[in-house]
Symmetry: none
Subunit: 156 residues, 2 copies
Amino acid sequence: MLFFGTYVNKVDRKGRVSVPAAFRGALQHPAGAPEAIILRPSHKEPAIDVFPVDYFESLSVSLADLDLFSDEQDELSLTLFASALQVHFDGEGRVLLPREMAEAAGITTHAAFVGRGHIFQIWEPAAAEASKREAIERARRRGVTLPRRRPAEEPK
Amino acid sequence: MLFFGTYVNKVDRKGRVSVPAAFRGALQHPAGAPEAIILRPSHKEPAIDVFPVDYFESLSVSLADLDLFSDEQDELSLTLFASALQVHFDGEGRVLLPREMAEAAGITTHAAFVGRGHIFQIWEPAAAEASKREAIERARRRGVTLPRRRPAEEPK
DNA sequence: CGGGAATACCCATGCTATCCCATAATGTCC
DNA sequence: GGACATTATGGGATAGCATGGGTATTCCCG
């Protein structure tokens, strides 16, 4: 399932937000209602990356193949797990935004849920809007098309 | 179950700290509440490595695959077992930090619990923060972010 | 053996997260 | 277009968590 579109929801005074129903639907847990999601501060943008639990687990499987005390395992496990958090839905489909992540993303009263395919992000709405605009502008200037494969790296 | 996230808890004057509830939950002991964990000074970082008892036991099994009396077996068994300690939870989910390990990690009034997948670590909070930041920075520079497969090796 | 320290067990407390119910707004189906 | 289901939101009550301290017990050193 993929995550599409942008939705802005309110953050209540307890720090809760409803995850858009469209996204909850895309989370379709095998056994009925989705239970939880994984949050992680985005390392490139002032936003929170959100992973479905099983997608995140597929990322972490590769770690199990690495030798326990290798440098590689060390570094990856630290970046992957140390700043990630699992949060659970309440009965109404809301989650509690971890204070620290919300602050880092500048989120206060409203949160923008931005679909990005296999994952989605949570932004401060104005920042999300600005970033989107900027990305579109950059893409236009560059004449980006739609590569079917991942480009080697960005020019800059 | 995996260990996620970073939590900072207070060390009381008797040297006790609450293990974060999220971690206790991940310890899921078959027979109800988790009983104990294994602590070991990390040999690469100023921190305490923490293993669930059964995971630690599974490590010792793989150790048995190495030739007895080989240098490798010798070295590993020494580092792995000689300085390891088992500590028990009290009724409130706290453990007593062994003085020596706490000192070696520079832990005084606060302890940071850092999830790393199958294990977690206990750090002095500022040191944990610094190390995490560094690892993320290094990973980003290498372009290794969230690999789904084991990266062959870094280009550079 | 006796005394002191370190440890384990117990209870108390403020705080936060979670559960549960209520309501308004929106969308859907026939 | 009207009845109903779903969604987003709000708030009160409760349970769980982190923390503090008192006290009994054990261990060790003399």
